[in-house]
């Protein structure tokens, strides 16, 4: 079976890396893009070891190429023909995505608020009104932190359904040359909102920006 790690440009460089199960990584040109794959035997389990091996190959690719679209863990094809048939349908979209992430890395951000002590409230209606006000405030605060960072980024995504404690969970696609300045902007936000805790991670290969349109529409 051909196990799939990432898509790169046809002209990309493939590092001398081994991935899951120690199999060497190779390169299959498919129209406008190329797939980075390895021959793997049998089923592959989502152990920490395999997940980290997948991440390691994507990291090695990103270290020597300016455009890498990571593939989600655990994706394989029976053979080259199956891979080619599936990829040729997405050719144009994969090429556009590669252009979008070109030269960029992903920066992750979590912002959390300190837990509020439980307040004694009267009726259930009072409680719900309090809760809704708190959520609206948290949402406005998250938007205030997110908007100026998103403006600095080539693209940004924000996870929904956060509560009053986990305020913001976001990813930003940032040109590699601007990472230092972007982190500076995060530090500035952290100083301004001193009561919140910020956790900034990365730079990552652009996993969060390698989700195709039709997946997003189906979700």
């Amino acid at each position: 079976m051909l196990y799939l790690y990432a898509f790169v440009r046809e002209s990309a460089e493939v590092p001398d890396a081994t991935g899951v199960g120690g199999a060497p990584v190779t390169f299959v040109a498919l129209g406008a893009v190329a797939a980075v794959v390895a021959e793997v035997d049998g089923a592959l389990e989502a152990t920490d070891e395999n997940v980290l091996a997948h991440a390691h190959v994507v990291d090695a690719l990103a270290a020597v190429n300016d455009a890498v679209l990571p593939v989600r863990f655990g994706r394989g094809f029976r053979d080259r023909d199956d891979l080619e048939a599936a990829v040729l349908r997405l050719d144009g979209e994969l090429k556009d995505r590669l252009a979008e992430v070109s030269g960029c890395v992903e920066i992750g951000l979590h912002v959390a608020a300190p837990a509020q002590p439980a307040q004694p409230v009267g009726s259930g209606r009072d409680y719900m009104e309090h809760r809704l006000r708190d959520l609206a405030r948290a949402d406005a605060l998250a938007a205030d932190i997110h908007a100026p960072l998103a403006e600095r980024a080539r693209a940004a995504t924000r996870s929904r359904s956060v509560g009053t404690t986990a305020l913001l969970r976001a990813a930003y696609l940032v040109p590699a040359a601007d990472v230092h300045a972007f982190r500076g902007a995060v530090d500035e936000a952290q100083r301004r909102y001193g009561e919140l805790s910020f956790a900034c991670t990365g730079p990552w290969p652009p996993y969060s920006f390698a989700v195709l349109e039709r997946e997003g529409a189906a979700a």
């Binding site: 655990g74 990829v87 390698a210």
Partner: protein, 63 residues
């Protein structure tokens, strides 16, 4: 996954595993492997996330 790592490394590890398992391109027509095991990894991660949330709150109160 070790629970003895410092907070920053724990968050980085969680973020990494989350990206590899739930982000990235999915090409329809592929063979998805070991789905049940992916769920198992997620269960472990949720536990770890819960503990990180607790540590963040403690830090927030101390600051």
């Amino acid at each position: 996954m070790s629970r003895d790592l410092p907070l920053e490394q724990q968050i980085t590890l969680i973020e990494l595993v989350d990206r590899v398992l739930s982000k990235g391109v999915v090409v329809s027509g592929d063979i998805t492997l070991a789905v049940a095991d992916v769920d198992l990894v997620y269960v472990g991660l949720r536990v770890l996330l819960a503990s990180v949330g607790t540590i963040e709150r403690l830090q927030g109160q101390a600051a």
